[in-house]
Homo-oligomer: 351 residues x 3
């Protein structure tokens, strides 16, 4: 259920939605129909917009409450007449765009206090430089020499370290911290994110471990999003880099010197150990660990709960610990299952 | 060691303890004996109360320092005479009740600053509504339109988002944040908990991933407890729900749209991916991952470090990745161990 | 890349560096050469110091930019003439010392606001006791009766609970919290660390789970370092203890009553369940889980992603779930791989 007290919908006409998404509205007479909300086709409420991304959802159209759907041209003739059609080659992307149009306050974490500009309950060092339209909420702290770009928000209780540079239209979430970092534009750091603290580096050995000072930085490129309570350590002697458009989920650990390419997806509770390098469009599923110093090629996909201890070729699809091709893993599990089943049937005799 | 500077014990007579727990004190002449502390039977100090939950601990009674023990009727005649007996059918539950009576400040996270009411160092939006006996500590922030019920505490540095509703006698821990959520009564959110931030939703694909606005909420029912630095994302198009009495440990990730039933236990570093549904009384051990969109039946128990990728029947007991019945897992590991052992004895020849 | 805006280098002569590290500068005529920075031998910039810890890096010396290297005596004659030699028996430890000398602000997390003493934007309870040279930054909160030792820093937004004692020269990081704890000297708690909240203890059962009040404390000994957003629960009836010099990475969970020895290493996303005991110099790699109530002997090494469900002998080297000797694990994985390969070659016939 969407609660209007949280997300204040902005109803839009189908014409406006078509224009914003680049979709073609097949029935021009429906241009002024108003869309107030959105939802997946099987649960779309009245006056909503939805999408068909996969033909298996087409049957749900019979009973959908949606006024209109984004849909690929090839399925258009399977949409019931009462549902308006917005033709688009990437229906789910178009839907995502429409959703942000209808619920602009859900598309970016919002300030919570209603204060504008710099709160009188915030601390901003005199030497910090804030461009226009920056919001700094109650309890936030901006360190010496920090710079915050136009339209960026530092939410309640967030802390920006000395000399950190934050780009434009970026959001630093509640109680997050950013140290020793350059952060790009349109970045979202969710609550409790920790950027730029010391990497885990020690000269180990008998007599105890001596701390190795970490003198690198963190570079977070444009359009990156990092989930709640995730941690990104600064480099020891090179920079830790999160590439443009990469999306990181909650409770993910990124070690020092890690370089992550563009448009990667890293799911919750995954860890990337020090000095590992990921290419572009890599997908790392939840709770997976990538050991230090290895390279993961562009477009590699790593299944959940895996342990990757070797370089991966571009496009590799692996899973398991140690990680292996998905087909081998499936085969291996079938064999093990079959062995256990055999042992059960004749088990007591042979054991 | 219990340090009185932290937990200020409130000594109680055995009579008071029996009354509060519903236990029967066998020796009525001991009613005025005073209990000052508590501990497990093998380590119970002088003037303490303890419990026997399992007959294997009975031998420890010979040397226990405890003045009295909660104990099932059937073991009563095995308790040494010098130890008083409080008969109860659920000795450990009775012990837990007694412990909270003796150490009331340990039974609920306490405010730290000694301030009463709303701290002059807190920020409370004018439109927020606070019932009576609410504490808002230094550094806390209450957003616009938020409502906090009677007897609830918002501890130092915690942030309550706009329009969030918090029930009565609930504690929002230090530096925690609660957004887009309705939280029930007698809930405990430990330090650094993150509730209600965006779920991890993107329309993925070449050209980059487009953010899917998350327009659901989080519903946290009564008597829920969530551990330090755990994260609960709000729903994308339905609510994320944590059912009554469910207890979640530290560093757990709960994805968007997840529905968790009543009285579940989810242990540290576990993750429940988006749109999964757990029944009532489910137990998820530490570091286990549950993939998205699956259903886990009532009373299912999932061992530590598992990866659950299929629906589980009510009462299922599984472990491993992929998760399998516990017996199969034990059998499989025995077989693998045996194979390795054989290969060692004759190994160099056949490899 | 090191950015001088973040780490303000303090150039030092080779003579100073030799003196501080106990190294011997072979060429006394080079004593006044100035070192401005540092880096690994393959990436060492001009005017830097580096180290040779492993002979496989010797070839990099041909093209290194380093002015000098720490190096074991036995490799000294393989260092090119243009590179000065600092002989040391533990080159990496000497390098770590030099690095902290050159970049003192990177060796300990720094305050961010530029305030000295107690910020007027902090809350310090009247009954708290602060020794000299304590820094309490904006947004920090010091509870009633807390004590903070000389030279310790409580950074922005950090919260110290009532009656907590913090030693000397300790740093409590940004937005961290410390409750019911005694913390030693020279401790570093990184941002978002959670110390001393309730352990996860419930009297479980039908009708719901009853909270077991946690009346122990947390003891953190000298020279401990705990990574960002890690959590350490206080004991239920004994203390949770982190031994001297132990280093814990980010997002690690330490359960109640856990006792960790001296100079252990616990890597990111690992979890140690309640009442487990680790000896000294134990290494726990990332994402590993240690179940409750077991004992891990001194010097045991546990590989990444493991599940340890039994006591480990001192010096044990294990990996896997359930954890087994590393050799057995390697053997097991080779056997499984070979089975899968065989099944592929003749597979379709026999399945």
């Amino acid at each position: 259920m969407t609660d209007p007290s949280f997300f204040d919908p902005k109803p839009r006409s189908l014409e406006e939605i078509a224009a914003a998404t680049g979709a073609t509205l097949l029935n021009s007479q429906a241009a002024q129909k108003v869309i107030a909300t959105a939802g997946p086709v099987e649960a779309a409420p009245k006056d909503s917009i939805s999408f068909i991304d996969n033909p298996k959802y087409l049957p749900h159209l019979e009973q959908t409450g949606a006024t209109a759907v984004f849909c690929h041209e090839k399925y258009a003739d399977r949409v019931p007449k009462r549902v308006e059609i917005l033709v688009h080659s990437q229906p789910y992307k178009a839907y995502a765009t429409a959703l942000s149009l209808l619920f602009p306050t859900a598309a970016r974490p919002q300030p919570v206090t209603g204060e504008t500009g710099v709160s009188s309950h915030a601390f901003v060092a005199e030497s910090a430089k804030l461009e226009s339209n920056v919001i700094v909420e109650a309890g936030a702290v901006i360190g010496e020499g920090a710079a915050i770009g136009r339209g960026s928000h530092v939410l309640a209780g967030a802390v920006i370290g000395a000399n950190v540079q934050i780009g434009r239209n970026t959001t630093v979430g509640i109680n997050a911290s950013v140290l020793h970092a350059f952060v790009g534009d349109h970045v979202i750091l969710h609550p409790g994110v920790r950027i730029g603290q010391d990497g885990f580096g020690f000269a180990m050995g008998p007599g105890g471990h001596r701390k190795v000072a970490q003198i690198g930085r963190v570079i977070i490129q444009d359009h990156v999003e990092i989930g709640a309570n995730s941690t990104v350590d600064r480099g020891s002697n090179r920079d830790t880099v999160i590439g443009e458009g990469t999306k990181i989920d909650n409770l993910v650990q990124i070690g020092h010197n890690v370089v992550i390419g563009r448009h990667c997806i890293i799911v919750g509770l995954a860890g990337v150990a020090g000095s590992a390098t990921l290419g572009d469009y890599v997908v790392v599923a939840g709770q997976t660990g990538i050991v230090g110093h290895i390279k993961v090629g562009d477009g590699a996909q790593i299944g959940g709960g895996s342990g990757v201890n070797m370089n991966l070729e571009p496009g590799a699809k692996v899973i398991g610990t140690p990680a292996m091709p998905v087909r081998d893993w499936v085969k291996m599990n079938m064999m093990l299952k079959s062995m256990v089943a055999k042992s059960k049937s004749g088990g007591d005799k042979t054991e």
